[in-house]
């Protein structure tokens, strides 16, 4: 397959349009989410997940490190798990994943909406839903 020549331009020669910015944003947030998940797994292991949590519970905790995700596990003392640090990490993950996700949903739906008018509504509706759900999520993380 090595006879196939790549036609990709080097990043410095591509210029910065909105599409180029969102292309980079999608990839940067993907790597950011890997960072958040890794942090969650390492934190869980430090705080005693090894003997008190199942694999699924550790994954659930690592995906969003909010207080609700450590309830109903075998962890006896949840004090270190519900600190402001973990709430801040959960908020970061929520906004990173949410903005990555809402962009993805808009891109997918754009492929099935041929009219400009429909595409505008697609943007307004999805961004509106994202705003409301992000507020609900932040409320859950900081009041639980």
């Amino acid at each position: 397959m090595s006879h196939l020549k790549s036609r990709a331009l080097p990043i410095s020669k591509r210029g910065l349009s909105f599409e180029m910015f969102m292309w980079a944003f999608t990839r940067a947030t993907a790597l950011g989410m890997y960072g958040f998940i890794l942090l969650g797994v390492i934190g869980a292991l430090i705080m005693g997940a090894q003997h008190n949590m199942t694999f699924v519970e550790v994954l659930r905790w690592a995906l969003i490190t909010n207080p609700g995700h450590v309830e109903s596990t075998q962890i006896a003392d949840v004090t270190p798990w519900v600190s402001s640090f973990w709430r801040l990490i959960a908020s970061g993950m929520l906004l990173t994943a949410g903005s990555h996700g809402v962009h993805g949903v808009i891109v997918i739906l754009d492929d099935y909406l041929p009219k400009d008018n429909q595409r505008n509504w697609n943007r307004y509706l999805n961004m509106g839903i994202f705003g409301l759900v992000a507020l609900a999520g932040l409320y859950i993380i900081w009041t639980a």
């Binding site: 993907a30 694999f55 609700g68 996700g101 809402v102 993805g104 949903v105 839903i129």
Partner: protein, 130 residues
Amino acid sequence: MGLQRNVSLSTGLRYKGHSPFWAYILHRIGGAGMALFITIHILATFAEQQGWKIGDLINKLYTSPAFQIFILFCVLFHAINGLRIVILDLFPKKLMPYYRQIIRAELALFIIVFGFAVFSVVTTALGRMS
């Protein structure tokens, strides 16, 4: 304005794009699945916190093994395929010529990780029953 396509669904399904095409379709299904279910999960948890019964009902569905296997498929495929896309895009000149081999390696990695996840979900569910 807008794109005009005159391709039926059955023609689309017979499209012979092979592994890159299926990776693209599954990436979309995984992403859309996550977006939908995480939105519902956040709203359900919000409802649960307010003491509305509908929240408990939805979140109880989410702890069922069948749903966990489905959402783990979405999350793990989207995450592993996404990492493949990021790595290919970071080094396009070196890696793009080998994209088919890289997708095969990715698929092997996905089967191992997803297999372990399914095994873990099933054994946890069996442990809870006994």
